[in-house]
Symmetry: D2
Subunit: 354 residues, 4 copies
Amino acid sequence: MAGNSFGKLFNLTTFGESHGEAIGGIIDGCPAGLEIDLEAVQLEMQRRKPGQSKIVTQRKEEDDVTFLSGIFEGKTTGTPIGFVIENTNQKSKDYSHIKDIYRPSHADYTFDQKYGHRDYRGGGRSSARETAVRVAAGAIAKQLISNIKINAFVSSVGEIFIDKPYQDLDFSKIESNIIRCPDESSAAKMIAKVEEIKKAGDTIGGTITCVLQNVPVGLGEPVFDKLHAELGKAMLSINAVKGFEYGGGFCSAKMQGSEHNDLFNEDGSTKSNLSGGIQGGISNGMDIYFRVAFKPVATIIQKQEALDNQGNIVEMQGKGRHDPCVVPRAVPIVEAMAALVIADYWLQNKLSTL
Amino acid sequence: MAGNSFGKLFNLTTFGESHGEAIGGIIDGCPAGLEIDLEAVQLEMQRRKPGQSKIVTQRKEEDDVTFLSGIFEGKTTGTPIGFVIENTNQKSKDYSHIKDIYRPSHADYTFDQKYGHRDYRGGGRSSARETAVRVAAGAIAKQLISNIKINAFVSSVGEIFIDKPYQDLDFSKIESNIIRCPDESSAAKMIAKVEEIKKAGDTIGGTITCVLQNVPVGLGEPVFDKLHAELGKAMLSINAVKGFEYGGGFCSAKMQGSEHNDLFNEDGSTKSNLSGGIQGGISNGMDIYFRVAFKPVATIIQKQEALDNQGNIVEMQGKGRHDPCVVPRAVPIVEAMAALVIADYWLQNKLSTL
Amino acid sequence: MAGNSFGKLFNLTTFGESHGEAIGGIIDGCPAGLEIDLEAVQLEMQRRKPGQSKIVTQRKEEDDVTFLSGIFEGKTTGTPIGFVIENTNQKSKDYSHIKDIYRPSHADYTFDQKYGHRDYRGGGRSSARETAVRVAAGAIAKQLISNIKINAFVSSVGEIFIDKPYQDLDFSKIESNIIRCPDESSAAKMIAKVEEIKKAGDTIGGTITCVLQNVPVGLGEPVFDKLHAELGKAMLSINAVKGFEYGGGFCSAKMQGSEHNDLFNEDGSTKSNLSGGIQGGISNGMDIYFRVAFKPVATIIQKQEALDNQGNIVEMQGKGRHDPCVVPRAVPIVEAMAALVIADYWLQNKLSTL
Amino acid sequence: MAGNSFGKLFNLTTFGESHGEAIGGIIDGCPAGLEIDLEAVQLEMQRRKPGQSKIVTQRKEEDDVTFLSGIFEGKTTGTPIGFVIENTNQKSKDYSHIKDIYRPSHADYTFDQKYGHRDYRGGGRSSARETAVRVAAGAIAKQLISNIKINAFVSSVGEIFIDKPYQDLDFSKIESNIIRCPDESSAAKMIAKVEEIKKAGDTIGGTITCVLQNVPVGLGEPVFDKLHAELGKAMLSINAVKGFEYGGGFCSAKMQGSEHNDLFNEDGSTKSNLSGGIQGGISNGMDIYFRVAFKPVATIIQKQEALDNQGNIVEMQGKGRHDPCVVPRAVPIVEAMAALVIADYWLQNKLSTL
């Protein structure tokens, strides 16, 4: 397998399966001299960890990050930052019964076809447990670009959408409810919906909106590495993501140039921002905002047909402790991936001119 | 500027501004022994070139590709394939009048802020002329993965959408009309719409759908380099793209797991395909399909406010020969980028197992 | 700091300081299905570890490798192989007295100038302790390319050289003496020399020769990534290395073409092998051999002038448990780096042709 | 073929065979705003071009570089710099007689084995003609790091060595003779030797020494990308190179620590410089110097045995216009590769600290 690294200059490489001894990663390229707030890292881990509320999986996992290198006397040294997160909750279980079964819309079948030999315990490398490492690394990235404000929040669950522009929302309320939606009335409806879905043993999709504020002008490498292209890849690399749009997004495709163009103010800012803070792949100093679509979690607590590795259709009954809706726990993951992209492009931009 | 390379193993590096002497690229990593059909390359160039119909820009540019290396006696040698495309149409014009003006929703302002010094003639490096190189390289990629069928088509212009699933379309009709929409009645409406928009000196957005058929199981690198993540980045790197979704896309976010899961047939294929041919970032052998949103072209033939580099709002009148709607010419670009991704991942997958 | 990754397809990323909690690494790109012999890995660790004989440092460190991912039921899964090696011996010491002192010919001064903030305990990231991770990863690489025989040995210590071509040596004797020289009479002299040097509190340089046998024809990417160029970089990246030559090496520079050319046998092998098994950057199936020069260890147990960070020359007295001569412990490191290069190029070569 | 790119941030990708239409390259990552002296580029090309004196190949090739992008109004724009060099001298020749013959110590056999299909005309991609592109790119790199003085010179031809330390040489005399040796009496002997060898239809090896002065402290990425490791790879990637040593080099391997250590002066400079200006992989501000060994050119104008592709030993008679000794023309190539490394590491070092 390749592709376990992300970022050119602020580079994260990760390892780990859901049921191995530990997961972890190495950040290479973080400049020396950055003061690291380890509690802030742990706080991000809390936001992602299972068992944090009644509407997420009830698995218990502490997700404590142990940093092994690269930080000395409270500051980065410029050397690689290695860290591990133990898998404390998964050691005893017996997974041999699903060894030969491919669950629908999971990666079981494709992993087996691709690699021949796989760690079948709980999803292995394809488990969303892998994203814990991203959150840890993203928390370091956030500290590198601490002037930039990154706020992600749940903007829809199923058919329930926030019906306001993000400018009308108070981001300080995102963490005030368990669905992570800053619009309180929408939040209440979303939570009720997830509880209903959970009772039915079903799951439901949703979207996350992310807003980056105070981004300096000039981040982004035109052509293949446009800023929004890398943000898009970052988001699409998160488990269960099916779509990405920024600025006007899919709505832009319905519009005319005369209404879509963002006219300038004298200071270089723009009156409207359908560009989503990025023009020609480069940040223009306006808010960057984008929306990410998550499908419903594939594991449902209902009877379902599956395939075994002998080519038989078999009935299986989903069980265990799974998320009925992935979006509340995905909020810190979206932020982490955004932070990794911005940190990387912030470093890249240091080299644009003499 | 970094980021002028695309692909890990089938790697394309490009250069060139819209008004320099030539644009071009180098493909590094194409295996030796591939028979190259140069006419097929040129055919793709024709599909992208300006002046091909009444609804696209009337600029004339032949876009002949000259291969300088890497192909010998009709076959690739394994050495890098260097090629150039002359800029024949742009030599004489005087662009000094726009030297100091930032057009709205173009990359003028961001380039100037980022680099300080830019080639202001006709968009320079940010011009969509750059995509001609992608089409040439994509045409080579297509020959490497010739078993895989890649069909992109215009699925909407403004509010006019094809209202059928792609399975009901006849892809052989894509090239039968100038908008590149295989549904004839929709095509007629789209063409009429673009003509109307053009007359008004305005522009309009649209979407392109792309379908990849006969993709082998196993392409894609889980975690950061999921197949759809790289396809998404590839598409988002094309000028004017604002969004990407694959499989169920943004609709998946409204669905429940019990309706969204793709149940297996005994041969490993699936009854439905909301997964869009990719599970856990790896192709599962079903059709891969995705949709790409394009904003309306920023250059409109109307009076508009712009900013000059002294901070003054100035009125400008768009003129020249521009596309009223980018999607018909973007069809071969979408296919080219898809081919580059698939060729790269096809090579990567050769290394998955012993 | 960048540059903590090695290899394009068989890719190792490492972390860790000599006095942190642990060092470790991630191998990304090892194909699935490779049976892993963990004892063989540990055996390589023994060959490198401190305290193994009277002529190396008397520090005690077990250097047990713990694999955390990527290996399941005895075989690689294709997912990244994460591993850690605890630093057991270094926890209690007080290094504050050398915090402000730059030892001559160490990396203290350059690290401080470059990064501003460094882990000054025992060399930190610049310590040769880092090579333990290379040996662990190299041991996995060796198993991937198990048909290829890799033998490194000490070919000189100070002025004492083996005066025979490698073809006259019995590689099975390399491990039979503590200096790792297969020529017994030379070995005895070398050991005596190192003991004498050690008694004097001094250190001494040496060379290692490495021979790769049974390498298939075709490994190596011409132009920048010639096989010997990457081998050279790999060796020069090992602590204390000052030079690299392969085949005829520096002697070739004194010769004439008529005597230097390797004439062919009918089977494509060559009568002589001054090419060192590589022609045009590509292996030709003959033995690959090269020689690596190591300087004397900079830490000597004598009084010496050093610089403090206030610009004062101060006298320091080297103490502690250091290697009087680095070459015996560097033998497995040279082999490990050679294995990493060959494994990587073996994978790369799978993509040369259709 | 992979490996046609060099450098992480100041990145050169090249293409071209000796007998194709043109060779060329793309520099990606050169910062915007650098004034480019095109004459200085051409001057470097003159130093490398064939036919420049009686002791080099008498082929005539003008080697004019045409820049196609990335430079506007005399300065870099930050966009990729594409350039081509036409192959003017090689079009008419008939090479079909060597199509099936593998010349000894050339890359004919290994290319054919690796790729199956090769451009057999005059060495194709393995020809040293490829280095013309390196010289052009290196000339741009030199302008980026113009404060750093890079001087390479011929330090030996066969057994004739300059018997002085480089500090006693006047680098301004390097270009004063056709062998590019700043020591006039050595130069005379070397020239006489090459003329004698040429008359005999033979070839001879030699070494080049390169000195980098005024290098700032802090260039180099410890661990795998040590500054000297990348310099070593750069040099070993040049055709015909067999060895690389820096600072004390292979002599260091014979020395004791007490004599080898470079003691500090109060300003951080060192009294001696056996470290060769690099400690722990990072430049320390002292002169960086290294030596590169070149084998004798494989093409000799004598009868010699070769192998055909049917496995027959055949007699061949070398003919044509070849270099009797490669080192005078390799001097600018060594400098160019050194400049590419230093430019790249200079950019990398901008990211070491906040």
